[in-house]
């Protein structure tokens, strides 16, 4: 049995704060091109993530080892047609080396969702979750809503067409990976809890989709993102197995301005059942009175669908904090093994090996975590 020292225990607590109580903002983009052409083919949100529609529930059932009824509480709690309920519970345990070595266990997600439709294509989407609270305001902020928005849909009940959302949500940008440590999320404009108030106009077509989001600094919660700005993402599906797209984001705060431009692409190789996803970003940051770091952020992930219930991701991340300065780059290799045991239960191994300034003797970091996820 391994005994942890005092500092190691303290470290585990801090690691739990860093890694834990995480928000799984998105679903699995691995399913686009490999299972469905669009995110809205499985999700209520046109940008993906969160509550599933009927086709998403069917997918959840068919990809699982022991397919069970995929509805809310296995369909045992009936809800009216206008109301969809759901939730996620998630925890993790494992080994972290950054470079201090420690063992940690922590909750990742305790979150509930609701979507209510009330005619003429209008609906309301909201979630609430237990989260780290605001210092000095713990009583009012131990649970709060990450996403809540009013949505108008051009063709109610369809998965395509025009969508307009107003409220609090993540600006639509990039690949939208579920794992928030992914470089293109952590350093790429959509870090954990970057949701804020905005307006999104989105058009989804089987052959292409466009998302334009304008957003402001959250006027209610002093969350880490302090910027106003806009984001745009356009994606064209060249064929049923290949999509290419472009992205742009501009943010402005009291401290800096950031311009991001990038490319996204997905390619599904049907015979080996492997999906390749690529995102590359260039970011220019303007800091007053002087300073303009230029960054490259890139991520390539290959996802293999193995058997009925397994999905294996191998990802490579690259981040150069300032391309004008030597040895400020870092690289990461990610490995995720998902086992969809039932339509509600998922077990995940997630591991990372990270190097700073590879080849120049910089420190390494990494983690190996076992996750358990239960979808209500």
């Amino acid at each position: 049995m391994t005994r942890m020292s005092g500092p190691a225990i303290a470290g585990a607590v801090i690691a739990a704060l860093v890694f834990g109580v995480a928000a799984r903002t998105y679903a699995y983009p691995q399913f686009q091109m490999s299972r469905e052409q669009t995110c809205s083919g499985c999700h209520i949100s046109p940008a993906g993530g969160g509550l599933l529609i009927e086709n998403g529930l069917i997918t959840a059932e068919t990809i699982s080892q022991w397919g069970t009824p995929a509805g809310f509480f296995y369909g045992k709690i009936p809800t009216p047609r206008w109301l969809v309920l759901g939730g996620d519970l998630r925890g993790a345990s494992g080994y972290v080396q950054t470079p201090e070595r420690l063992l940690a266990s922590f909750p990742m997600q305790i979150e509930a969702y609701a979507h209510a439709t009330f005619g003429a294509g209008l609906s309301l989407y909201a979630d609430v979750g237990l989260r780290s609270s605001q210092v000095g305001n713990e009583g009012a902020t131990f649970a709060w809503s990450r996403e809540h928005y009013l949505m108008w849909q051009q063709w109610p009940g369809e998965t395509t067409g025009l969508f307009v959302r107003a409220g609090r949500f993540m600006p639509v940008f990039g690949l939208r990976n579920a794992e928030h440590p992914t470089y293109t999320r952590k350093w790429g404009g959509t870090p954990r809890y970057a949701e804020t108030y905005g307006l999104a106009v989105e058009y989804v077509h089987p052959k292409y989709e466009l998302h334009a989001t304008g957003f402001i600094k959250d006027p209610l919660l002093d969350t880490p993102e302090h910027s106003d700005g806009g984001a745009a993402l356009a994606e064209v599906r060249v064929s049923e197995r290949l999509s290419v797209g472009g992205e742009f984001m501009y943010t402005q705060s009291d401290d800096d301005k950031k311009f991001r431009v990038g490319l996204v692409s997905k390619m599904y190789l049907k015979a080996p059942e492997i999906l390749l996803q690529l995102e590359g970003q260039f970011m220019n940051q303007l800091i007053e009175p002087r300073g303009a770091p230029k960054q490259i952020i890139a991520y390539l992930m290959a996802s293999k669908f193995a058997g009925t219930a397994f999905m294996i991701d191998l990802g490579v991340g690259f981040f150069d904090e300032n391309i004008q300065i030597k040895q400020l780059h870092r690289e990461a290799i990610d490995l995720n093994v998902h086992w969809f045991a039932t339509s509600h239960i998922e077990a995940i191994f997630t591991g990372r090996f990270e190097t700073l300034a590879f080849g120049s003797g910089g420190p390494n970091a990494g983690y190996a975590l076992a996750q358990l996820h239960y979808r209500l």
Partner: protein, 117 residues
């Protein structure tokens, strides 16, 4: 095609790379290093203020850094200590690049200009 563009951008940048001539200012260090690396929601954000420190804006960083920096002496500054020690090193999820630590040390040794008096 875009891969070629990416490679070209990186190659051009690599040709003109310098050692570490970034501005050693409070504004640069906060916006380019501390905010993205240390100010995650659960850590040193204004929202959470872990250990009472916040680095997500220059305004709050000025106050927080004023308590953990000894201007003119990086080696005795608590900020430098937590970035370099082997136990409970910060940031917890991934260490800072050595050149970022060097820049912060240079800013402190230059007198930490910009800190609240």
């Amino acid at each position: 095609m875009y891969r070629l563009v990416l490679v070209a951008v990186v190659a051009c940048a690599a040709c003109t790379q310098t050692d570490n001539d970034r501005p050693a200012t409070l504004e640069y260090i906060t916006a380019a290093i501390l905010q993205p690396s240390c100010s995650q929601y659960t850590c040193h954000s204004s929202f959470r203020r872990a250990k009472t420190y916040a680095f997500d804006t220059i305004e709050v960083a000025r106050e927080s850094l004023g308590r953990i920096v000894n201007p003119g002496d990086s080696q005795s500054s608590f900020l430098f200590l937590v970035l370099t020690r082997t136990v409970k090193r910060m940031p917890y999820d991934s260490p800072l690049a050595q050149k970022d630590i060097d820049l912060i040390a240079r800013w402190i040794d230059d007198g930490a200009p910009g800190l609240a008096p």
